[in-house]
Amino acid sequence: MPEQLEGSVAVARTVARCRPQVVCAYPITPQTHIVEGLSVLVREGSLAPCEFVNVESEFAALSVAIGASATGARTYTATASQGLLYMAEALYNASGLGLPIVMTVANRAIGAPINIWNDHSDSMSQRDCGWLQLFAEDNQQAVDLHVQAFRIAEELSVPVMVCMDGFVLTHAYEQVELPTQEQVDAFVPLYQPRQVLDPQAPITIGAMVGPEAFTEVRYLAHETQLRALEVIPRIGAEYAEVTGRPGGALVSAYNMTDADIVVVAMGSVLGTLKDTVDELAADGTQVGVVGITTYRPFPAAAVRAALADAARVVVLERAISPGVGGPLTADVRGALAGLSTEIVTVVAGLGGRAITRPSLRAMLLEAGRGALDLLTFLDLDLPQIQRAQLTGAGR
């Protein structure tokens, strides 16, 4: 039964229904409402048994989660931006040990300069830390991806990040249908840890591995990621059966039939893109939209299949690799290796700058005329840039 809820509250209630046994909480805008919601559910006894741990930093948050998960407890935490980077060492540790921790990342820009608004530079910076990264387009998908994340993580014994755009989704009040406790219980079985600290069966976890076996450890981790490309859609389909809602796909597509340009993007901007594309279609310009739901592992085959007929592809980036360009573009370019598709990059909405229909329309029309450079910054304040360059302030 649909409800009108804030994104964070919807996620908190859904995560609670996945019965995590340890929740680690450290405040960082814009995810804090999620852990706040969970603190109330634990305190009033509706989520039990569950240890809600107020920790002293994000590094501690993931560290506590690692300890809990290694002891066989289903574990959840949430973070964003600077916090994600403050736990970077622990991210690699968790994936290296194969601990199936589920973490929400409320995407927010990375400083300096400090910025609390939405873009993807935080999760992008950790795209190779060995965690799966799922991107939600809206709060309904965010809720559904969290349930599937526990199944995926525990089946593959690999940690999973569910990324949702900070403020734009976390603080948006909209219609959401939460999976019932029965549906979740049916869908997410009891957690069977691959390895666990248990005096009954003592084992040493996290040995020092030298040159003789380190490569093999990394190969096996790589294989697990590739297996995820098959596990995620399967679990997504199963979820669709249980709930009647579309499960997590690797990618999504919109208005692809006879689209001569296709724009590829991730996260909430896909909603604005679809409205823009509808307007362009009404004016006779067909633009397709491909949304990447699973960014890590990167579904190259699915992307290649989706973009097979596209003559021209615009990759809408929400992060920037300084001096290089767009990280998502690099992945898309890899997926289309060998094809003659013309690929351009448009960086948009960094640090919370609004991405509006008029700007997208103009850009897509320009792309249609083949007039876009290889790399464009949407709505760049050129006069500001020129003033900065003049005074040598551009560093």
């Binding site: 909480a25 450290y26 405040p27 603190s39 109330v40 305190r43 107020n54 002293e56 930093s57 590094f59």
Partner: protein, 333 residues
């Protein structure tokens, strides 16, 4: 710390006093005060932290004749003072990260020493979250090395910038967004939290002191004393937060005063690990008026009065009174 003042109406209780000689008044009373934190910042109405920061830094600037560099951890103080393109700071100021202000300050001090400019002193500052929680390792490191840094913690007892979540400085029973007032033990749990001034003293650094925005003379005297010393110094300043404590915007100083007069926030100074000065309670009051004035304790009074919880808080206050002899029964230091 008050000198023998011939009776002058408000003596040294008010900020200034036209009857007192200049040197017995505060830095804040001077027309020429530095205003390290000036107008236009975006703190909430009645912000205690904005007040505490100006109080401390103006004195530090006067004590060092303007040769001061400030390193600031992430938090309310950093956010509401530097929204591009407007900065409210009038001192050399560097935003570190949330948990490393002390270490960054050590870096500044080391560079100054390497450049032979040790006349320029360094202040690191942050809120309680940035000091007692996420920045604690760096703080302890700075103490242990005895780096020439004055670390000032503006304690508003919670993560207020992110919307009032619990920190290790949040007092027992206080409601925050991550210690909601629901369930059998509403609000923050008893038996947790850190006594950071005591931990700082355990490092036996040259100077540790506590102060509040309700006693400006005492706060300035402690900053001045800290600036006379070299090495690691720590000042822990209570700065009530109208948003987080759910108090009226005009009660910030009154609430800080009540915190001292109940004994819940002992005001003292220590040198090399030993207490050398205690500010005695002037009008001792029970904890009730202090708690009742704050919405974060509303659940202790409605729907019914939680005498049991209030008694436990009173016990904390009484313990401090005995431990620091706040009522001067032991003849005082």
């Amino acid at each position: 710390m008050t000198t023998d003042v011939k009776f002058y109406q408000v003596g040294s209780f008010a900020v200034g006093n036209r009857l007192l000689s200049r040197d017995l008044r505060t830095v804040q009373s001077e027309e020429t005060r530095a205003n390290a934190l000036t107008c236009g910042h975006r703190a909430c109405r009645g912000c205690g932290e904005a007040l505490g920061a100006r109080y401390a830094l103006d004195t530090a600037i006067e004590a060092t004749k303007g040769k001061l560099v400030v390193v600031n951890a992430t938090g309310c103080l950093e956010v509401f003072t530097t929204p591009y393109p407007e900065s409210a700071w009038q001192v050399p100021w560097l935003h570190s990260l949330f948990g490393n202000a002390a270490a960054v300050a050590t870096g500044v001090a080391s560079a100054l020493r390497a450049q032979g400019r040790e006349d320029i002193r360094v202040v690191a500052q942050g809120g309680d979250g940035g000091t007692v929680d996420i920045g604690f390792a760096c703080l302890s490191g700075m103490f242990e090395r005895n780096d020439d840094v004055l670390y000032i913690c503006y304690d508003n007892e919670g993560y207020m910038n992110t919307g009032v979540q619990r920190s290790a400085a949040t007092p027992p029973a206080a409601r925050t967004a991550t210690t909601p007032a629901v369930g059998p033990e509403p609000g923050n749990r008893f038996g947790q939290g850190k006594d950071v001034p005591a931990i700082a003293m355990a490092h036996r650094i040259p100077y540790v002191a506590t102060a509040t925005v309700a006693d400006l003379h005492d706060l300035e005297a402690k900053v001045r004393r800290a600036m006379e010393l070299r090495g690691a110094r720590y000042l822990h300043v209570l700065v009530p937060c109208p948003l987080g404590w759910a108090t009226e915007s005009d009660e910030t100083i009154k609430i800080a005063r009540l915190a001292t007069q109940t004994g819940l926030f002992p005001v003292f100074a220590a040198e090399n690990g030993d207490v050398v000065d205690v500010t005695p309670i002037r009008h001792h009051v029970p904890v009730d008026p202090y708690l009742e004035a704050q919405g974060r304790y509303a659940h202790l009074f409605a729907p019914s009065r939680r005498a049991d919880v209030i008694a436990r808080i009173q016990a904390e206050a009484d313990r401090n009174i005995v431990r620091y002899d706040l009522l001067g029964r032991r003849g005082g230091t």
